[in-house]
Symmetry: C2
């Protein structure tokens, strides 16, 4: 490239973001430079701001701006239901559905022997403590339907068994899903869990 | 979302970048927050830096860090060949090919009656001046093969006719292109411009 040292460095760094490659990073940076006052400078300020203010909630692992996140601070949320998710993106996805009114616990990943990620790395001991201390009545294991996610769910279920009601998300045909495009596993799961109409 | 005010604002602004939607903006921001020292803070600094240092080259319209860009300053480039492109992204694309050793002139768009973009908005008068002052021998009109691009090329050709050699990029089958996937216009152009082997 030949836009100068800083702009080349900016493109290179933007290209590291998920969802952006070198080509879209170039387009994004050109757009930023074109809209310097409207986009580039406010974005730089916001990033600096987020770097300073944003932190992990000490209780649930969600992102927030104080020691506790907005969900943990919200007294209207039902403290007796605890939804366990892999990461913050999953928590946000749950929140967008707007159905769940309880609290969360973010693990920060899944168990993985290969990457040497054990229960200690995943805030699982914290989960066990919370269930004991907060009088939790139900733990919803909303982990991804992947091998790693399900292994982790099994492990957590073993740890908590007997002390609390354990549930997991239903598996089946997604809304709007066409059978022809679904994998065999999903169809099998949907058939096994079929319901009377 | 529920990650706090700053992070929500950052996601909203990132989603305005070309190539990023709300979903990929959320993923990018989570990645940024996770890699605060390595990604978020350096990126914020770089953006601030670019906002201060980057400016348009007063001669050709490319981006650079001084009054003249690196290409205009490079005395090894052939000043008698001038390549006219629509915007900086096109200039960078030409540079990546590494073939052209002359100088550039960035128009900043195409003529458009609908958007009220006339020659004055497009640095076309500057182009006419440069050709007269710099002793240009050849002007390569490397505008996009769109209706607007070709209209603009026609207009520029009219302005410069007689004073300089005018050329345009060859049209034909792209390298690696399969005939079955090419549009009729490209095949027609490639057939008309066929060459003896």
């Amino acid at each position: 490239m030949s836009g100068g040292r800083d702009i080349d460095a900016l493109i290179e760094m933007m290209a590291k973001l998920p969802g952006l490659g070198p080509r879209s990073a170039r387009r994004a940076v050109l757009q930023l430079v074109r809209k310097r006052e409207l986009l580039l400078m406010p974005l730089a300020d916001l990033m600096q701001q987020v770097a300073i203010t944003t932190r992990e909630c000490t209780r649930c692992g969600n992102l927030g701006e104080g020691p506790l996140c907005l969900i943990c601070l919200d007294m209207k949320r039902n403290g007796s239901e605890l939804c366990v998710v892999e990461d913050v993106a999953d928590l946000w996805a749950m929140e967008r559905s707007g159905t769940f009114k309880g609290r969360y616990h973010v693990l920060g990943g899944t168990l993985s022997a290969l990457d040497a990620i054990g229960p200690e790395e995943l805030r699982i001991p914290e989960l066990v403590n919370r269930v004991a201390e907060e009088g939790t009545e139900e733990v919803i294991l909303a982990l991804n339907a992947t091998v790693d996610g399900q292994t982790t769910a099994h492990y957590i279920a073993e740890q908590l068994e007997g002390s609390v009601r354990l549930t997991s998300l239903a598996q089946g045909v997604p809304i709007g899903g066409e059978l022809d495009y679904l994998d065999d596993g999903t169809i099998t799961a949907a058939l096994r869990a079929r319901k009377d109409i």
